[in-house]
């Protein structure tokens, strides 16, 4: 238990560090966001007034204090380019990212684990080589390439899916999820294969087999349960890479998600929005890892004892 409390304490420190780092990084920038916000035809006077209104003429430490106190009261500032509270923008776009990431993770886990099991069982067989070759390909292909090829073939040529996922409902998430999950599927397959292959060499598996149990039950009942723990940790790590890949997928498939919001924020020099999206995504990853750690220590008796 004390371990978990310590982890939570660490998490808070890291979160604060992350917030500070983002804030500092985003203050060293050129370009006047207000101009972008009000359009080319705006006059100088209006721009000046808006700058004062947003507190951008204040010294650095005042701005930082305002920001930090704002974050704690749930106020992430107002986006320049979209002219809305950042919190509201994140609240509208996050469900889309979550849907995409969850669908992608599902795809990756199912495909990765199934391929990993088959490869481990048929170690050094044709299927093993094939799957491992393909999985390395999965890890090596840029996300945008998978996304583009899927969009071109399945949506454009065969017209099976909508081009843009925005208003298309669940079916719109199939292609982006595959594109996003592709990389993860590769690494999950490789991890499942290596851990399972190791477990399959253990003595108790031989014993079970010797007792006359059929092959499949041995794998599912005995081997897989011991191989699943590293894969769970892997899933937490995957959250971070899913969010990274989502930036690309959301751009290609026009999904109004956090990643696209971040890209838009950069294009529009929209500091509050960029700050908010990055802070939110990073906090998500940090909390995800915290939850995974806690789950892990609850699930794995060995770790529980160590605590």
């Amino acid at each position: 238990m004390s371990n978990i409390i310590r982890r939570i304490g660490q998490t808070v420190v890291i979160l604060l560090g992350v917030a500070l780092l983002i804030f500092i990084m985003l203050r060293i920038i050129p370009g006047n966001a207000i101009v972008t916000m009000m359009g080319e035809h705006a006059n100088a006077e209006a721009i000046e007034r808006m700058t004062a209104e947003l507190g951008l003429d204040q010294p650095f430490y005042v701005q930082f204090w305002r920001y930090i106190t704002g974050v704690f009261s749930g106020d992430l500032g107002t986006s320049y380019s979209l002219n809305r509270p950042v919190g509201e923008l994140i609240a509208t776009s996050f469900p889309n990212t979550a849907r995409l990431a969850i669908a992608a993770a599902l795809f990756a886990w199912v495909l990765g684990i199934v391929c990993g099991i088959i490869a481990a069982v048929r170690k050094n067989g044709i299927l093993d080589h094939l799957f491992m070759g393909v999985s390395l390909l999965g890890v090596s292909v840029p996300v945008f390439m998978v996304a583009m090829v899927l969009q071109y073939l399945l949506a454009y040529k065969l017209d099976l899916f909508p081009i843009s996922s925005g208003n298309a409902g669940a079916i719109g998430y199939v292609l982006p999820a595959i594109a996003l999950g592709w990389n993860s599927a590769g690494s999950i397959a490789r991890l499942t294969r290596s851990t399972l292959a190791e477990v399959l060499q253990e003595d108790y598996i031989d014993t079970a087999r010797a007792k006359g149990l059929r092959r499949l039950p041995v794998i599912t009942r005995h081997a897989l349960r011991n191989a699943v723990l590293p894969v769970i940790t892997m899933m937490a790590v995957q959250l971070s890479s899913l969010l990274s890949g989502a930036v690309i997928c959301e751009t290609v498939f026009s999904i109004n998600g956090i990643g696209r919001l971040a890209v838009q924020a950069i294009e529009g020099r929209d500091i509050p929005l960029l700050q908010g999206t990055i802070l939110f995504s990073t906090a998500l990853v940090i909390l995800g890892n915290l939850v995974a750690d806690c789950l892990y220590s609850l699930l794995d008796p060995r770790i529980r004892k160590e605590v």
Partner: protein, 540 residues
Amino acid sequence: MKKLMALLLALMMTLSLVACGGGESEGSADAPASNVEAGLLRVAALYDITTMDVAQTTDNYMVPMNIFDRLFEVEVQKDGSTEIVGSLCESYSVSDDGLTYTFKLRDGVVFSNGSGLEASDVQYTFERLLTAGGVNDDIPLEVLGAEELKSGAADTLAGFKVTSDVDFSITLAAPNAGFIAELTGPAMSIVDRETMAEVQNFGIACEDTIGTGPYKITEWVVNDHYTLEYNDKYWGEAPSVKKMVVSIIPDASTQNLMYQNGELDILDLEYLDSAIVESTYKTAYADRIISGSRVGLTYLAMNANHEYLSDVKVRKAVQMAVDVDTIVASVYAGDAIVENGIIPTGVWGHNDQLQRPAYSVENAKKLLADAGYAEGEVKFELAMDSSSSSNTQLVYQLIQQQLKDAGILVEIKPYDESSWLDLRKSGEMDAFIANWTMDYNDPANIMYTFYGSAEKTKLRSLNYADEEIMARVAAASGITDDAERMAEYQALEKKIVEEDAAWVPLLGNMHLFALGERVESFVPYWAGYSNFYAKDVQLG
């Protein structure tokens, strides 16, 4: 361990429900055309709007154009010519000195919330643009007493007199023959005084943003889409489009694929490379393309304070070295016209007699050599707004190559939009290429904006220095005789382009749209905006 597996399984199932449950009720946009709701128009925009309040923006006009009305509108005739017609204003007259305009409002117009339109609403609209700290106060500033109201020295707009519910008059500080034309601009959308006094979030909240136009805004999911629906209290003819959904698709190539898949009813081809337009749209969709003229032009501006560009001979050499014909043919596949002046084709006062110096690499080289420059000595930076359309970016690259052929070394430097504007404002930018689209159909719009004062020339025409010319440009809008006024503008234009070579006119491109099968006809906005009136769309 069994429990663990069960737990995992349950977790996965819940997640998959969450994953799939999200949007099923929204219906598939991929449905064949026949399944699309009757009266629905589906279009896409590259960026979301930031506000629906014209006081706060100079370019987010899609919603204001459709939910508000102006006093006057520009109507595009069958032959493509334009005419200014009354909208909320039924009739008007001008005094002989050109200073006082007397207007009569259309009878029985109501806002979409039932509140009636009165002359005081127009007065409120003018005063609000001046006092609400907005960005669109150029036009009301022309009214007598506007400066006083804006600075707080006066409480009301002295030049604005309401005489009855439907009658009012406006007195200008100085005569301006283009005043009525200016009133057609989206910036002059009329709002309701009574409603404005009650609502909190005008321009942001749909229910607070009330106009007299053919549509009302019913939904706006930021960064995702917004929906306009027919306003059944609209005073004019009921439009064919009953509902319009504008999806935010920040990528032209995705929009292109969506159109081909039948997910969009009108595709703006402005941001697609002309090669795609040529190979796809002019073949497979040839009968689905319509062209709105773009009343505006693409130009190259050069900094008069620059080491080399300050020399008029260098500027003339640049004018000669640019081969606009090739650019038109290659980048725009012929869907553009070569512009030789400042006042674009289609604008009142355009001079089609203007000639540009003949394209000649040799003459350009010779001019530079005569002026005492060694080959490759003249160099400058061409600053590019990296958010400009891919066609504009191609123009940059071609011009760089063409100038290189003439021995002028140009470096293209991309900037993000705000840094680019900042650099322009500082007056330190060497040169840039940009498009200007007319806000209203009068040469004053472009002449005054680019050459009207030292402040304007610093930003727009990069330090054009002739103060006498600036004074004449500023004074020209006060000439009440139209023929005389146009002659003055044309003389000034000739001086700036031919004698001073301060401006390299490039081209005006057609603004093409592709219409989906459900659309029967569509008239784009006269100035060639991407924004349009949904009432000008006829569904099949």
